[in-house]
Symmetry: C2
Subunit: 321 residues, 2 copies
């Protein structure tokens, strides 16, 4: 069987069966307008150095159509939020496809549930933050405002695997017009298994009937479709997370070849903030955090930016390697 | 087989196999001190009208010991957060056992991911909020500060079903000394099924092996244990959420009898913010929200407060009905 044909068929079947994204037309128009505005200024020297689609946080798999229970993939969204900040700092325009409620750029320093713990009322009932946090909060507010006001950041939220993959398809087909100037930085933790919508329980699964048996199907490998159909000229970076270090690099290399990625970033759950390995067809580069005060993402995005700028100067026919 | 014995055995087995709560001793000491402080002032006319344990948000069920994937129960925590505010307003002291990242008292009005959208820097780079939100933000900050500074609110976070049930056990055995003055308001969405820790995959489940088959066990019914052993004199309110209205009331009545609850609040996923039915041994009361500007929880907590004050005047031997 032709593997290309089979992936495409599986992807088409997945999208046919998926519940349609809410306000799909409006979201699509918004994405198209955002990309079109930047396609005029990208790579011409004056404007943005490129447009990057950052995906972040975990996708959910509903187990019931009127969803009470779902399977979730662990991801705080820390990596995607931090990376978005450094991409913006490096001159990129960012489309941030993120899990609702996950960490957001410029406020990932906030302790959880900290909104009220962080603020207090002064003597004239003005809103203030403790002296120790003033600088970091003010810098966050001004950096975020700048990115939004200058139209450099588009935020698109998802919850389910169905929403995530529809957004990824819309953004990547829209970004195809950017050719080599587009980048995908796929840091989201995407479900491998799902329950097809049409075979899903309509109501909450009864708990009285003893142990629960479930069978989950594999999610089609959309990286392959993105690479080969949606945006074949873009620079593609995907992530491989494992808990077992013994199989990590081997799985990263397999993903590099199988999906034709430019870079696979390999990380372990136990130390993903401290060290990653960038796997490319020409070798491996270990990136380590210099100190607890540094973000690993600053170095990582620096290296990827350089690789992307080389990629962007290649002739268009050359991207299949 | 004696059903009491069997429930206790199941519960004991569950706790034996559960990974121990982090900082368990420190958390227990904190709970004991909080309850002891309020046991002196509760029900004597001067201080708090009682102590209520509010549970809120959904519990997760890890599918792997080094957890990448888990099953989650949908719950924003809106009900628990709003109810906590109204309990505090009604003079209660509140122990708020909540899912990390779920809605919090006094900041549930915030749009999601809104931290940065809500704040801006003024001309002298002072932190400000738009005119339209000033009052609501300032009220939230001062109400929250008051509750914390006066020691009326203890917040205890959980993520997994293992953490949730350990916290519930610790809080309810600590609250047992309050007798009839204690209340449980169990609004958390608790998993019915789980994977026992010792039979769980150690590493991330491989996705290459085709469809995934899982078998999940039933979580022991801890409401029964709470009612009969941990805090038998407390006033107990549990929640029943269903998506199918045809079976909702029947299931609520079953829970009332089976677990000896004082009240079961029945709600449907489709309209849980607008209407609930309070089911008790003496009948049913429908509570509807008066307008979109009102919180249903204000009426609900008003009615429960009255029922609890009647319960609190009963002699101790009388609580088993």
């Amino acid at each position: 069987m032709d593997p290309t044909r089979s992936s495409e068929d599986e992807a088409a079947a997945f999208f046919r069966a998926a519940p349609p994204l809410r306000d799909r037309d409006a979201v699509a128009a918004n994405i198209d307008a955002f990309v079109a505005r930047h396609s005029r200024s990208t790579g011409t020297g004056g404007g943005s150095v490129g447009v990057v689609c950052v995906t972040s946080g975990g996708t959910t798999v509903p187990l019931e159509q009127r969803c009470v229970r779902y399977i979730d993939n662990f991801s705080s969204g820390q990596r995607g939020a931090a990376s978005t900040e450094y991409f913006l700092k490096a001159g990129y325009t960012v489309i941030f496809i993120h899990r609702r409620g996950s960490k957001q750029p410029y406020c990932r320093f906030l302790p959880e549930d900290s909104f009220l713990d962080l603020f207090e009322l002064g003597e004239e009932s003005e809103i203030q933050v403790p002296e120790s946090h003033t600088t970091v909060v003010k810098t966050a507010i001004s950096s975020y405002r700048k990115a939004i006001d200058e139209g450099l950041l588009l935020k698109l939220p998802f919850t389910t695997i169905f929403e995530y993959l529809q957004l990824l398809q819309m953004v990547s087909t829209a970004m195809n017009c950017l050719g080599h100037h587009g980048m995908f930085y796929l840091a989201a933790a995407v479900s491998d298994f799902y329950v097809p919508w049409e075979s899903m329980a309509k109501h909450k699964i009864e708990s009285a009937g003893g142990p629960l048996n479930m069978q989950l199907n594999q999610v089609p490998k959309m990286l392959f479709i993105l690479r080969n159909h949606w945006a074949p000229s873009a620079f593609c970076v995907s992530f491989k997370l494992e808990t077992d270090p013994d199989i990590l690099l081997q799985k990263a290399e397999m993903a590099l070849r199988k999906y034709g990625m430019n870079v696979v970033v390999a990380n372990e759950l136990a130390n993903y903030k401290d060290v990653v390995v960038m796997v490319t067809s020409s070798g491996k580069t270990t990136v380590s955090r210099r100190s607890k005060a540094d973000d690993l993402e600053e170095q990582l995005i620096g290296l990827l930016g350089k690789m992307h700028s080389v990629h962007a100067t290649q002739p268009s026919s050359d991207q299949e390697t």
